[in-house]
């Protein structure tokens, strides 16, 4: 749990990162609610979004999570969605950004 995840980000987009991370935290909240309400459509959308956005900012793992989440949501797989959710939470706490 204590292991840090190093993410290299281009310094040119440094100022966009806070907004990005904030949006991801918002995603987590939305996902939680959607899972509770079995709103698989929303889960899928969030996963889809994450998939498309993560890598661009340098957060490959967010893209990976996005793929998993989207697929899980398509299959209405609560367990898998929950797993993605917890991983995401954990990830955001552990991530450490290095600007290059």
């Amino acid at each position: 749990m204590a292991d840090k995840v190093i993410v290299k980000v281009e310094s040119e987009i440094k100022d966009l990162i806070p907004n990005f991370l904030a949006n991801r935290r918002k995603d987590i909240a939305t996902l939680e609610n959607a899972l509770k309400g079995s709103d698989y459509r929303s889960c899928q959308d969030i996963g889809h979004n994450m998939k498309g956005v993560g890598g661009g900012y340098g957060f490959d793992d967010i893209t990976t999570i996005g793929i998993r989440l989207e697929s899980a949501a398509k299959n209405n797989n609560d367990e898998e969605i929950a797993a993605c959710l917890s991983f995401l939470r954990d990830y955001l706490e552990r991530v450490e950004i290095v600007y290059v």
Partner: protein
């Protein structure tokens, strides 16, 4: 004309074969006879008209023999009558008298003596000797007689050789040097018995005697100087020069008016000689002429066949005399002319059969005519100059080469006809298959469309439960995708047939592609309760140089098929990579196939069997496209199958390890790349995307405006007319697809790039078909974004240059 090596080889073979055959045929009697007759006809057409005013025949014809019989008795006569006639003729002033008679034995003593005296008195008389085929015992003074009458002729002079000759008997004293001459009467005929050649000298017992006509040329002169140059073949006799042919004979040039040699019956001369002065007309006639005295009586059988018909030997003697004197002889043409005729005769038909003229056969026939005309024309021209060329040989060569080429052409036409018939059949079959495909496809397209229409209508009803609505929506979704897949398959098939599909390799993770495929099809697997799993061997590089889009297409097809045709069990996808080759095997536990079906399934528009067609539907295009794609990637797609057990489809392509980093790796500095210039409208509903991409765009030197949904995107695009519209495909209000459709439909021509999370899916295909100029995959990679924009925008340097140019223009 004679350019292709193939043509030259063919020319060479045909020409050589024709020449060889013609030369072989030359040895046959048929050829030789035909050749002679042909040349006779040619000579006849070009025959001159002779002026016979210097000649006169005195003919002891049947009429004369009849008339003179009471007085002179039967022919041959006592020599005294010749004395009488000779005296009269000489007094009338003839130029010379040639007796076409061999006085071969003694007659009356008195008559012979008289005649001997006559012969001694005049020096312009020629009498005949006769060459014989067999040696005959001769009296002792024979040799001496021969010596006296022989001419001095060089040893190497060509002449006819005889074992013996009958000389005049008795030995007339007046015959010899300074007095009457002796000429040999002997006709030499060709193989067809026709007289065409006239001998000049006859050799007997090592002595040379002139022929009778030759002697009569010199009747009123001394025996001439005879010289022969073996190198040039020129025989000079006195002031004449001839070029004799075989055995020293010359070839006669017949006139067309042989029968107009003036001739008077013997009896008339006899009567005139009995009463001098009684026939002054006759005396006037004979004056100054060469007189030839002989008999044309049929009972003597002395006649010759000429190309013009039968003539008495007497005529022939006079004719030959005239020809020699007037140099109306035929010489062989030079070998070069013969060679030229043969060459042209061979080549004229060859030329007409060469490729570019292989249109109408009439040209070939015309060439035959042209060849014949050319040969005969040239030959006749040369004949005008009294030279004889080969005539039948070149004509035969030309005809043979023409025939060979005509047969060859017929054969080639026959082959062509068969090939065309086969191709026609193949085309008809292909057309039939296509028709079948179209009708099948129409059915296939109608099925999902019906579902879409039906379920969509149901969706329109109010008061639906959420789960029912979701189910209906899912059906519409599935069938829409199925429809687009069908259409894309058809598009791909057409593109493959038109050779338009290009493989573009780039660094990609094969694991990602396979996972994506598995994820896409896992629904279907779950529905049919089949297990679907991928297995990866060790040692697969993280990135390979592959065309991920096309590989995904192939794998979707293979795995989709595997799932479709398997009722129970599992489908496995085995991935391995070794020695620069990527191998993906799709294994199923389906019904399997018979060997015949295994090849048939790869043919376009074909299914494994008709039952499969009916049970599973489909257009039969998928596998043929997959195999084509595999081959375009320099790889293979093969199948192994066991009935009742299952099938394995193996996709194997060369795939090099990729040196580049993966597409999602963001750390790549491209600050050195030239700045772009222009205005970009960025449309995406995701704020993170908008922020990131705008930032990238500005870093590239572009000005950016944004839109949050399809509606805004549409309005702003029309209003601002940006240099590029960079737009997400999935957006609210209006989707990317709809925006593109509306814009393009309304005549919007500016570039549109699509932003998509599925760069390998049917959506992007559809978007491209609707009018996108390119696409950028999400997650967005800066390099890829730059490359895509570079395609549709100029750099700022280029823009400045353009502006400058416009200013100065």
């Amino acid at each position: 004309m004679l350019v292709t090596p193939q043509f030259n080889v063919r020319t060479g073979i045909v020409a050589s074969a024709s020449l060889l055959l013609a030369v072989l045929l030359m040895q046959t009697t048929l050829f030789q006879n035909l050749d002679r007759q042909l040349q006779d006809v040619q000579a006849r057409l070009m025959a001159p008209t002779f002026d016979f005013s210097g000649l006169l025949l005195v003919d002891i014809n049947e009429d004369s023999i009849g008339r003179l019989e009471p007085e002179l008795g039967a022919f041959p006569y006592d020599r005294s009558i010749y004395t009488q006639v000779t005296d009269w003729l000489e007094r009338a002033g003839v130029k010379s008298i040639t007796f076409d008679i061999v006085f071969g034995e003694t007659r009356s003593h008195q008559g012979d003596d008289e005649f001997a005296g006559t012969l001694a008195r005049y020096d312009n008389i020629v009498i005949g000797a006769l060459a014989v085929e067999e040696a005959v015992p001769r009296p002792t003074d024979y040799r001496r007689q021969l010596d006296r009458i022989a001419w001095a002729v060089p040893r190497q002079t060509p002449a006819y050789n005889w074992p013996d000759a009958t000389l005049p008997r008795p030995v007339f004293a007046g015959v010899g040097p300074g007095h009457a001459k002796v000429g040999v009467i002997k006709v030499v005929r060709d193989a067809d018995n026709v007289l065409r050649r006239a001998p000049l000298f006859h050799r007997v017992y090592d002595r040379e005697l002139p022929s009778l006509p030759l002697a009569s040329v010199f009747a009123d002169a001394k025996p001439p100087q005879v010289g022969y140059d073996a190198k040039t073949g020129v025989l000079s006799v006195g002031r004449y020069q001839w070029q004799p042919g075989e055995s020293g004979s010359v070839r006669m040039r017949y006139p067309r008016n042989t029968d107009s040699i003036p001739s008077i019956p013997f009896y008339r001369v006899v009567e005139a000689s009995l009463q001098p002065g009684s026939d002054p007309e006759l005396a006037g006639l004979v004056q100054g002429r060469r007189v030839f005295l002989g008999s044309s009586a049929a009972i003597l059988g002395d006649y010759v066949w000429t190309p013009y018909g039968q003539y008495p030997g007497l005529y022939a003697v006079a004719l030959i005399d005239h020809m020699l004197e007037q140099n109306q002889l035929l010489l062989p043409a030079s070998r070069w002319i013969d060679a030229l005729l043969v060459l042209m005769a061979l080549l004229i038909p060859v030329a007409s059969f060469q490729e570019s003229l292989q249109g109408r056969p009439v040209y070939n026939l015309l060439s035959l005519l042209a060849m014949a005309t050319f040969v005969v024309g040239c030959s006749s021209l040369v004949l005008w100059d009294q030279h004889v060329t080969q005539l039948l040989l070149p004509l035969l060569c030309g005809f043979i080469s023409f025939s060979m080429l005509a047969v060859l052409r017929l054969f080639l036409l026959y082959q062509e006809k068969r090939r065309l018939a086969y191709e026609k059949l193949a085309a008809e079959q292909a057309y039939q298959l296509k028709s079948q495909f179209i009708s099948q496809m129409t059915h296939e397209l109608r099925t999902p469309l019906t579902a879409i229409i039906g379920f969509n209508r149901l969706l329109g009803e109010t008061g639906l439960m959420d789960d029912v609505r979701a189910r209906y929506s899912d059906v519409v979704d599935r069938n829409s995708h199925h429809l687009i897949t069908l259409i894309n398959n058809m598009l791909d098939q057409s593109k493959i047939e038109a050779g338009q599909i290009r493989i573009s390799r780039g660094p990609a993770s094969v694991r990602e592609v396979v996972e994506d495929v598995v994820a896409t099809l896992s629904n279907i697997a779950d529905q049919k309760q089949l297990k679907l799993a991928a297995h990866y061997a060790d040692g697969i590089p993280a990135a390979l140089e592959i065309d991920a889009f096309r590989i995904r297409q192939v794998l979707v097809n293979l795995v989709g098929n595997a799932l479709k045709f398997t009722r129970q069990g599992q489908v496995d996808v085995d991935v391995q990579w070794s020695e620069e080759r990527l191998t993906v095997a799709v294994r199923d536990t389906g019904a399997g196939m018979a060997p015949e079906a295994m090849e048939r399934i790869f043919e376009p528009f074909r299914q494994g069997s008709d039952e499969i067609q009916q049970t599973y539907g489909g257009t039969g295009l998928g596998l043929s496209i997959c195999r084509n794609l595999a081959e375009l990637m320099d790889g293979t797609l093969t199948v192994q199958s066991t009935l009742g057990v299952g099938s394995v489809f193996t996709f194997d392509i060369p795939a090099a390890r990729s040196e580049e980093r993966m597409a999602t790796e963001p750390v790549r500095r491209i600050d050195q790349a030239p700045k772009l210039s222009g205005r970009v409208l960025l449309a995406d509903d995701n704020s993170d995307i908008r922020d990131l991409v705008s930032r990238y765009l500005r870093m590239m030197g572009l000005t950016v405006t944004t839109a949050e949904d399809g509606g805004q995107a549409f309005d702003q695009a029309l209003r601002d007319r940006p240099d590029v519209l960079l737009m997400d495909i999935e957006m609210p209000v209006l989707t990317g697809h709809e925006v593109i459709q509306r814009l393009r439909g309304g005549g919007y021509e500016l570039p549109i790039l699509a932003l998509t999370a599925h760069p390998e899916g049917p959506e992007i295909e559809a978007a491209m078909a609707e009018g996108c100029d390119g696409f950028v995959a999400k997650p967005v990679n800066r390099d890829r974004l730059y490359s895509a924009l570079r395609e549709v925008l100029r750099t700022s340097d280029e823009t400045d240059a353009r502006v400058e140019a416009e200013k100065t223009a």
